[in-house]
Amino acid sequence: MIGLVVVSHSEKAAEGICDIAAQMGGGSARIEAAGGDGEGEIGTNANRIVDAIETADDGDGVVVLVDLGSAVMNTELAFEMTDVEAVIADAPVLEGTLNAAVESTSSKATLDSVVDSAEDARDYHKLND
């Protein structure tokens, strides 16, 4: 199964998004939170992201959802520090994680299909016109 990692500046935000997404896909998605700077402060940390990627991976690869700024940079750096095949989905972090959680539990899911479904969340509207 494709693993998922949520990287946010806030430890609480990352865990909360994982909690919401874990309800999807029959509750079987492999999803890890990597929030905060590792010292209880707001920030992101490459070592923490590496650990989450390696925990989420079962050999099929990992899709990472990020919030902003250093979350992207530290995730790219984490990719250089691990052998796990992992990619960033360019998607809104909450909605993208929900979509990815659903797709990742499909028997036909691939790294590309999970990224695509996460990125489909960019078109979400919350109110009807």
């Binding site: 590792g38 010292e39 940390n45 490459a46 250093s70 940079m73 530290n74």
Partner: protein
């Protein structure tokens, strides 16, 4: 080139001087960052270099390249903001240019690799109000001073520091296009970039240390080129 033990000693002295300077400037960096960012730059940099200084005993057994690489990995592990991947990741990556020791040639290669990595990682171009605005003129001036003007590396580095200083000044009147400051839009104009500022502080300490180890034969008045030597009209 100085032998490896002298290089190691100078490198460790530079690291300690940088750490002391970052500690002394902690509130300056945080104040700059609170104006246009997330107010963590001083604390983050201090925490990173504090962790680096704790490793000085290990450095005594390492090559210069491995010391720089370890500084990078330590910063990655201890600095929470964008400075972690930008400073730490770029040092880690550029350190391989120093595998044959620190010479005029390898230091240019290191500086260029470091600048490229910062630009690549941060997806930042010149004029985006980031550390790239201090680094680019510094690296270009250093390389040109050695390769074209045949100046000694110490003089070239003094010119590079001057170039970085003017790069920092350049960040004040421009609008941020990268980083947290870009969320402020036009309100970022008039503020000095914290990352460019810490880059300058680090370079100033490296220069100070290099002067001690290379007998201080530098031109204290060294300035980077700013205006053409000749009137373009007369030169025709």
């Amino acid at each position: 080139m100085a032998d490896e033990s002298v290089q190691r000693e100078a490198l460790i002295a530079a690291i300690e001087n940088v750490a002391a300077r970052i500690e002394a400037e902690k509130s300056t960096l945080t104040d700059l960052d609170s104006a246009i960012g997330d107010a963590d730059h001083g604390n983050n940099m201090h925490r990173g270099f504090e962790a680096v200084v704790e490793k000085v005993d290990e450095f005594e057994e390492m090559s210069p390249a491995d010391i720089v690489k370890t500084v990078g990995t330590t910063i990655i592990g201890n600095v929470g903001g964008a400075s972690g991947p930008l400073y730490g990741g770029s040092l880690m990556s550029a350190s391989q240019e120093l595998e044959d020791g620190i010479t005029a040639e390898t230091s240019i290669a290191f500086a260029e690799a470091y600048l490229e990595k910062v630009k690549d990682r941060g997806d930042a171009h010149l004029g985006a109000k980031t550390m790239v605005d201090a680094l680019t003129p510094a690296v270009h001036t250093y390389k040109k001073s050695i390769e074209h003007d045949d100046l000694p590396p110490l003089t070239a580095f003094a010119k590079a520091v001057d170039a970085a200083e003017r790069g920092v000044e350049f960040t004040v009147p421009i609008r941020a296009a990268k980083g947290r400051a870009s969320f402020l839009g036009w309100r970022s104009v008039g503020h000095q970039d914290p990352g460019a500022t810490s880059t300058l502080f680090i370079m100033q300490e490296i220069l100070k240390t290099a002067e001690e180890y290379l007998d201080g034969e530098t031109d204290a008045e060294a300035v980077a080129e700013s205006v053409p030597d000749e009137d373009p009209e007369e030169a025709k």
